[in-house]
Amino acid sequence: IELEKSHYSDHEMRKLEEEEQLKKKKESLYDEDEARGKTVIMAQDLEEKWEQKFLRFKAAPRITDADKSNDRTSLSRKLDSNLMLLVKQKIGNQELWLLPQVEWQPGETLRSTAERAMATFLGDHIQAKVLGNAPYGIYKYKFPRAIRTENNVGAKVFFFKAYLQSSDLSQAELKADYLWVTKKELGDYLKSEYLKKVNRFLLD
């Protein structure tokens, strides 16, 4: 990144000095007696060794197998963007793709409800961390006329964000269908109103 105004490093200085010494040696032969304290390993040799090592080193591939097969249930696809968990849930009569959702019990904080939702869908020992007590977004909807009573006109869904610390989900017992999707692919699964509200707080 920083290429201007940089000084020569130790290694480069050493290289330059040794090049000059070599030149002097070729031109005049009496330098052999003076340069008795010469190093066994030349800087040039070291550089070549390092280059060979570098060529042997292979970085891990960025486009993993899951990307090629477009397997949406694995976590190792799309390594450079964020993935969200979607679960198929039954609400009322319909089966919908939703972010994991659980009813709030009175007397519980909203954050603990979110953690309980995570526990029900991902198993007990998850290393996911919820940051802060404040929700990220809400979605209000009204029930269809058949279910509406005097008090319950509709419901509000609060969204929380949690970070997975480790990608080790082998212990997870997910009974329902689950998917890990990016922000763009959310549109394939969620309903439009829900999607609009959810999109507002998701970073890619």
Binding site: I1, E2, N82, L131, G132, N133, A134, K161, L203
Partner: protein, 174 residues
């Protein structure tokens, strides 16, 4: 001639000190060297506000760390979060020796330097803190470790050097 024509404002003349202006400027108090900084934390009931928070970035690569620290600082400026200080901790050098047992015993040295940059922030509201953390986390470059923690006295003292002679003298006196 020009040489004879100039009037030197001598002390007896009324024009003495005609070019002075320093008395018009506001008075500057000379800075004291010792900084005894003890900031208080604010954490009220419903309106949560964190006190001083340190964002520490460590990495082996100097350019990346510096640029990332600059980015964080500018981000906080734009989001109008008060930044107390942004300083650097001293670098730690590690020497890695490879002992190759094949053929001739060679020791390949690698000298690694670990750099640390700290950005100190005050007045972060708790509704905004997770968003900020998320933004910083998603923009982390590779190889940079991020750490956010509250500022303590121990953190402040780790920047100062201990003076063994002073301590000896103090011990002798008391």
């Amino acid at each position: 001639d020009a040489l004879l024509g100039c009037h030197r404002s001598y002390r007896s003349r009324p024009t003495h000190g005609i070019g002075k202006f320093k008395y018009l400027l506001p008075k500057e108090v000379p800075k004291r060297r010792k900084e005894k900084v003890q900031m208080k934390e604010i954490s009220e009931g419903t309106e949560y506000q964190y006190g001083d928070i340190n964002i520490q970035m460590t990495s082996y690569d100097l350019c990346l760390v510096e640029h990332f620290a600059q980015y964080v600082h500018r981000l906080c400026n734009r989001l109008s979060i008060q930044v107390n200080e942004s300083y650097a901790m001293p670098t730690k050098t590690n020497e890695v020796l490879f002992l190759e047992e094949r053929g001739s015993k060679m020791q390949l040295d690698a000298v690694l330097t670990t750099h640390q940059r700290v950005v100190q922030i005050r007045g972060l509201s708790s509704t905004f803190a997770p968003i900020l953390l998320e933004i910083i986390q998603s923009n982390q470059p590779e190889g940079v470790h991020l750490l956010m923690k509250q500022h303590t006295e121990a953190d402040f003292k780790s920047r100062l050097k201990s003076r063994p002679e002073l301590e000896e003298l103090l011990a002798e006196m008391s």
